[in-house]
């Protein structure tokens, strides 16, 4: 799975996710990537793209939950990401990237690693795989 989340200079957020799914999957299997609110979500608060065990991400509506806890619980972006990774996945294995309308970036995963990279306008840039 690949994904990208962006907040532009005007504070608008967007997310996109694309995948071939899982190797050896059954014909007709739908994963989380195309399901808005599960693998992909964007709103006024943030944009989120998920990856990992699709069935667990679908059950937890992972991407939408990041936005929901920001909106209803008042959490910051990284707090919201940490919250859903810890409390929504049950035993599922997944990760996600997110940006907020305030120009923040965040990521979280409970897998061994996640291929990811991020940058912000103030010059921060990071590329990583492991914790």
């Amino acid at each position: 799975t690949v994904g990208c989340v962006v907040v532009d200079g005007n504070g608008w957020c967007a997310a996109a996710t694309s995948t071939g799914g899982l190797m050896n999957k059954m014909m007709g299997r739908i994963g989380d990537s195309p399901l808005i609110g599960s693998g992909t979500y964007a709103c006024d608060f943030c944009a989120v793209s998920c990856t990992g065990e699709g069935e667990a991400i679908i059950r937890s509506t992972l991407a939408r939950d990041v936005a929901a806890v920001m909106e209803y619980k008042g959490l910051g972006l990284q707090e919201a990401v940490d919250y859903v990774i810890k409390n929504r996945l049950d035993e599922g294995q997944a990760g996600l990237i997110a940006v907020s309308r305030n120009g923040e970036v965040a990521h979280g995963f409970n897998t061994t690693g996640m291929f990811r990279a991020c940058a912000t306008e103030d010059g921060f840039m990071d590329v990583g795989i492991w914790e």
Partner: protein, 199 residues
């Protein structure tokens, strides 16, 4: 307002024994795609344009399992899926079951912008793609030799999962050695994590 920001990913659940050269290759692709997005943002592009552009680039590179180098079904076929969402107005588009579309994310955007629907799948999505004139590719474009090998490994592991006779072939790809797979016992959907493409 805090200025622009961007993040990209190429999948989670990485094999802890992923060879160093594969790690570097993945980082190179991620960095290239990130820089592409940064340049677009510095040029004043809208968020939705940037996410489409970056994901198209990731889809085109076989290092990750979307688009070219896609994961395969049990039958060895490709069924790709993608979605895009613009936070401005909460507009969205999604596609599933694609087998010929070079860049699924761009078809998802067309669903969002040129159709009355949010989600099209399989034959309907392929028909819509032809109507919209998007670029299509022969099936062989998506199916790489490496992924055919990984599917074979996945099938073998599935059938021998319970007696731990993990195949040692494929170690040169992103699969771990037999011993390390047993030692780590990391599984996803009932299969050793090493079986999966870099996901």
């Amino acid at each position: 307002m805090g200025g622009w920001a961007i993040a990209v990913h190429g999948g989670a659940g990485v094999d802890p024994n992923l060879p160093a050269e594969r790690q570097e290759e993945a980082k190179r692709v991620l960095s290239r795609c990130l820089l592409l997005g940064i340049a677009a943002l510095r040029g004043g592009s809208a968020a939705v344009d940037v996410v489409e552009k970056v994901v198209r680039e990731l889809e085109t590179d076989p290092v990750f399992n979307s688009g070219r180098g896609s994961a395969l079904t049990r039958q060895g076929t490709v069924e790709m899926e993608a979605s895009i969402m613009d936070g401005r107005g909460r507009r969205c588009g999604a596609v599933s079951g694609l087998s010929t579309i070079k860049n699924p994310v761009s078809l998802a955007r067309l669903v969002m912008e040129k159709s009355p629907h949010s989600y099209l799948a399989f034959d309907g999505a392929e028909d819509f793609a032809r109507e919209q004139g998007v670029e299509v590719m022969d099936n062989s474009y998506f199916i790489t030799e490496e992924n055919v090998g990984m599917l074979k490994l996945a099938k073998e592991a599935n059938s021998i999962l319970f007696d731990y006779r993990i195949p040692v072939t494929g170690v040169e790809t992103c699969s771990a050695s037999a011993g390390s797979m047993v030692d780590n016992a990391l599984q996803m959907n009932g299969l050793p994590i090493s079986i999966y493409a870099p996901e």
